[in-house]
Amino acid sequence: MSSTMDPPIYYSRSEYIETDTGNKVSRRATIAGPQNIVLGGKTIISSGAIIRGDLRRTGPGHTVVIQLGRYCLIGEGCIMRPPYKTFRGAFNYYPMKIGDHVHIGAGSVIEAATIGNHVEIGKNCIIGKFTIIKDCAKIADNTVIPPNTVIPTFSRFAGSPGHFIEDLPESTQEMVEAQTKQYYTRFQPLDRQ
């Protein structure tokens, strides 16, 4: 549960680049194909994260490969890779869309097609290709979600393969929103570097 008294989380100012819209991106993160990645604002990309915006659909023109909403957190060492499949003989990557207030714990590998708003994904999870995670869902630490899984709203999943465990409370949306906003506030630069 979030607390108004949670201690600050300090980063050294030199490590992070802050954008006009308040995104904070670690210089130690690997952002491949940045022109194909959209960050919604006040989203944090932690050190060691790998975001594969370069794995784009074949064909001409500009495409969005990975889209992240506002107040998201991509934890340390996370890998975000768009899903792929061979359809009617043609191999292709497909875009990944992630909503607002989505936190992804350290060391997780994400190949989902869509993740809704107010979603929490724990540490060291594997979210398989083309997974669809609906709003207000929660994935426990160390969960393995096989490809093509659908995770409905207000459900908590855990295990390998991930199973439905329980319904989440009706106020999940408000709780997650408060938590992600607070995390962004606690995430502060420390100077004198």
Partner: protein, 567 residues
Amino acid sequence: MGPSVQYHCPCLSTSPVPPPPHLPSSLHHFHPLHNLFFCEECDAVRCNRCVAVEVSTYYCPNCLFEVPSASVRAEKNRCARNCFSCPNCRNTLSVVSSDPPETGDGRSTAPLNSSGEPPFFLYCNHCRWDSAEIGITFEKPTGLAAQLQKYEDSAPDSLEFDRLKDHFEPFLRASSLSSSMAVHAALPGSAAHSHHLHSTSITAAASAALARDIPGVAKYNPLSRSASGRAHRDRTANKDEMPEYKGRVEIASVGLLGGGGGDVEVDFMRRLRDVQSVASVEQRWGNSWAGTLQVKDLKPLRIPLHSKRSKRCPACTHILIKPEQKAQSVRYKIKLVAANYLPAITVALPHLQKPIATSDAAKRTLMKISPQSIDDGTTPPGLIAGKTYPFHLALTNPLYDPIQVRLSVQRVHVTAATPGVGEKARRPPFAISLPTSPFPIAAFAEAWEYEDDEDMMVDDDDFGAGGVKGRDKDGRGKAKTVGVLERRANVTLIGGEVIIGKEARGNVKFNMLVTYTYRSDDSTPSEGDGDVPKSSKPPEVKSFAFYTVVDLGPIIPREEPRMETDA
């Protein structure tokens, strides 16, 4: 788990006062604030244990199709489309065609929902089980449940279930009619209604607990009022009127029909080479029939439906929760949650709160600025017996009006001591100090939320004060420990102190009564509001009280080697 605060729902007892925190029953009386509801009509907290539940929408958790309640029963609470779970690992199965395998990137991924070559089969992309192994294939990749219908209908468990239903149907219809008339005759008016609702929710909880031990029953039986009402009546009705039920098959012959049984199983076990070929309890748990022990005979099951539920106050039947009809909408038409009425309380132990550094560089800088704030591993992760600690309570006001809050600690019972200890343990294990006079919390305003607009810049200094600088003051300034420490927006920070006895054991856990008063018109509360008796107050001043349990964490006994740090 750090220190926590939980809120009381008085539904389990006749007394409004919760049991002492050291009793095991305490656990069942308290809930996280965000799991509680609030009935405006009764001016009372409600929890998931006491509310009456009604299903408003059924849907399949995989294909997300909404199922009309009329067909839920006929389809046996499971998806009647294409959704099956793996009999081996319970993962959702995919429909795949018999196309030649992919050569593309060298990875062997089965093509999905392809319009390829028949026959089609079900495939698990987690454990690689496939339905062709047990001889289940399909001509078309759609309507799989319908294609399997004939197997399902002829299975011994569904035949037996149909027979049971036919047997009990007339009896249930007759008894439900008579018992509902009896209730209304005995308790006329609204009292009857509330009593009836209350007892059904209690019996529903009880029958749900009992049903958990019957495979296939608990999970797929939604806790609807009609169902729970029936369970309740069963017990009161006269069972002698029922004719004796005769099973469809003689139990002795079940083994011969391939449904398991002594000799067949003994024979199977005798030839067993690989323990993996024995189906685990987990794999058999969802089956409603005492079936085979062998993994190779397990069948895929249609995925059980999920439901969206409305919740009603058990006393006045007003709706507390009403979700939007659409299965995947997260909005509610009615949502009366306690967090919108009661102040949110969080607790922290300042001596354990260390700022987090995301990198070594940040840690080094932090060390230079405030060395004492770094966790150097010397601070024991808890409370040491015989010492005194400050603790902080942050109270957040969710109301648009300011409130006056008064806290009082329920006396710590001496009986809390561990059994078998002598005279010394007669003393309470710890003592809590909290401010006794009421204190204000400012009204909630949308602006406090640090709203999304980009122009709302966050002032770093503001928040720094709560971190490093605040700690400095605690460390050497000998600032006030007990009392109001800080007021910021709609949050008031309260300091408390705990003195732990030398022989204390267990957790520092105490019940705390929170009383708050608010006025709806006047927005300038004066000092001492809470001290004036309620009767002399103008009618627009209201007061509400609720119990919480505060757990500061375990006490570390003095004998432990960690004690060397105690000066």
